[in-house]
Amino acid sequence: MSMDLSEFLDVFLEECFEGLEVMESGLLNLDAGTDLEEVNTIFRAAHSIKGGSAAFGFNHISEFTHVMETLLDQLRSGKRPVDQGSVDLLLASVDVLREMVEGLKTDEAPDDDRVAGLRKKLEAVIASELESGEASPEPAGTCRDTESPGSEGPVRHWRIRLVPGKEMFREGNDPLALIRELKKLGELTVETRADGLPALAGLDPASCHLSWEARLTTAAGEDEIREIFAWLGEEAVVEIASGEASGHGREAQAGPEEAVTEPAAPASDVESKGTGTPPPVPEPESPPEPGKPATKKANGLKAVKSPANRESGSIRVSIEKVDLLINLVGELVITQSMLNQVGADILQEGGPRAEALLNGLAQLERNTRELQENVLQIRMLPISFAFNRFPRLVRDISNSLGKKVELVLTGEQTEVDKTVLEKIGDPLVHLVRNALDHGLETPEARRAAGKAEQGRLELSAQHESGNIVIRISDDGAGLNREKILRKAIEKGLVSEKDELSDERIDNLIFQPGFSTADKVSDLSGRGVGMDVVKRNINDLGGTVNIHSEPGKGSTVTIRLPLTLAILDGQLARVGGETYILPLISIVESLQIKPGNAKSVTGCGEVYRFRGEYIPIIRLDRLFGVRGATEDLYKGLLVVVETEGRHTGLFVDALLGQQQVVIKSLETNYRQLEGVSGATILGDGQVALILDIPGLVQLFHRQIHRPAELAAVS
């Protein structure tokens, strides 16, 4: 029965990456305190990767994983204490393994020398200082090599009952193969039970109706026997009982106790389903209730393979399908708001059915909104997907810099759109590196400053008024404002006469080409970074700013929309046009008080806002719209914030706020400066969504000099 495995390759790869992540995070936890269950988790992840890669014929992976597994097994059995050396080595191995798995996708062969080198190191550790010397590794690649405690025990008799369940063949398992594996362990007699066999008419040849009972005489331990059945599906019932003296029997049952916490279906249910009739349970000399705990353990092994899948009942769906759904719901929202407008017109005309129509429309609106919220929810993932890499990153970087850092992650379960999540990863890495490199001081410097030697780096995420806010704070030295200002004057970004607020100075580091690092390091200091970070975040429709206190540390705050598909917008009228301003960037909308707006040569008009002079952008002039309000006192000024500075947008009137579905202009046209996209309003008209940072840049270019308005005050 040969099967084309290629279609499962993607699933396998994904499971590999998941396994690698489990291993990595598990290994990082080993640093702190050692729980053997943690080692077990890592071991099982490695084991799954080994089994999977062997099934696909990726021998280089299975062989390498095998060596890792041997070391892990020593750790989990307590034969070897968990120490820094082995954890580091295993982490390095996880990296290599990840490269190997990635290599499968790209058809690139990993660096053989590195793999071989690492493997030698692993083998050296495995062979080293084990008093008993019993763990001499078997030839790699075989499938039953994980020695467990008791595997070298005395020869014992085992009774094994296997009720594989109807699905066995469909899951790709072969009972004969299992029995052959068993036979390799020792002397074996097998009896087939056909009492579950239905009448010929009801027989489904693709289902397994048989069960088996085996007696095995072997020196192998229970774990080793159990491993043979590790790949059986959830339905399968495997009972293993020691047929020897009761002392041994208890020992064998001690194992299942650990696994009792694992979720598992009640054994009895599974049994009756599996065979059709209540099966005779052969349990000579075995301790009470052997079936239950044993079954749980069998399921426990399986549960580890996909705990998330089974508990939450999740399915894998391609992102295209979800996006199509989101688009369709977007259309529905637009149609619904069109209908609402028509409904409002009809109500004005009156008529007996108008009321009923309106009720129906209100219902439709509610349902549409709920549908949209829930559909968008599909794309939401917890931010932990982006945060997960940081424990490792911080550990590696702080080690290489000789700094002591405690990383604190909070709000990891905060959910955010997948696209946002993917695109925020790199900026976050950069900011964390920056904080480690420039923010936090060396232990000596910290001691001298009267702080604890260990620095603290905190990453937090939370929802705030429809946005996600990510903060990266350190308790380091804070920004050196003098140095920043000097550099900014040197670069001509500000002039010497300018009096800048502390906040403005701090946020100068987001300007292009800005780096105050005295020397260029591996990590940061090349001056390409903070501006890229800012641009990436702006591209996502978000904002970033930094707040710093000298000697106490800095906090970078990133504010992002929850999703890129819809936007909370403020509708504004300019002449005959309607524009949409992202609510995220609006600080305040106000009427200009006479005397507060002035015209400054070369800068255009300015407005005094909270003691600061801000430029006024007349949208009608910038966009060439006719028929807009000319008199500043008759329209409205919408104060927006971008890059830590305020700007006033002058509009005729505000029309209301609504969630709009974002449509890209690039689909059929191209990107426009100052416009981030378009949407379709309830009346069917297209309205442009303003890109505030782009708009401000466009404005500054048009008046040909940076509006450093502090100078005129």
Partner: protein, 174 residues
């Protein structure tokens, strides 16, 4: 598999039938033609949302059943005098290939549509060099009855002329 095959047969058939068919329209008294396979639909004049800082011929965007579609004023593109929108003014929506494997949907405003002509390839003459309106977007000239029809390479006009996107020249004539 079967659906894409069916689709292929369908589009082959269409190509065979429509390859030589041109939709003609009037613009400033001249008759122009575009390959009918490029035409997605013809719709009446609707209000356009202007876009800031775009070239003059780009009037703005409209909502075409949920898609945001840019609208090009063809008179302005050909430097013809402006004309009032009349009862016959229509928007021809075309689907053009952007030369990168994608397509874009744009609309063009014309004075009025005329008819559909069958013009075999050997009846199309190359445009005379130095022609006033020659911007490299003219596929050729054809004569139907006594009338001359200017056949436009609409892919080139929209992608290079209007959008300013680079396009492989090899693909222009199909």
């Amino acid at each position: 598999m079967t659906t894409s095959n069916a689709f292929k047969i369908d589009s082959d058939l269409q190509a065979e039938l429509g390859a030589n068919q041109y939709l003609t329209f009037f613009l400033g008294g001249e008759e122009y033609g575009v390959n009918i396979l490029k035409v997605q639909e013809i719709k009446g004049w609707t209000d356009v949302t202007p876009m800031p800082n775009t070239p003059d011929p780009v009037l703005g965007v409209i909502n075409l059943r949920g898609t945001v579609v840019p609208i090009v004023e063809l008179r302005s593109y050909f430097n013809l005098p402006k004309a009032a929108r009349g009862a016959t003014t229509v928007i021809i929506v075309v689907k053009v290939e952007d030369g990168r494997g994608g397509t874009r949907t744009l609309g063009m405003v014309v004075d009025s549509v005329s008819e559909v002509h069958n013009i075999p390839g050997d009846e199309i003459q190359p445009p005379p060099i130095g022609e006033e309106n020659d911007r490299g977007v003219i596929e050729g000239l054809a004569t139907v009855g006594e009338r001359m029809i200017i056949l436009l390479d609409i892919d080139d006009l929209m992608i290079n002329g209007v959008l300013g996107l680079a396009r492989k020249t090899a693909e222009i004539h199909e």
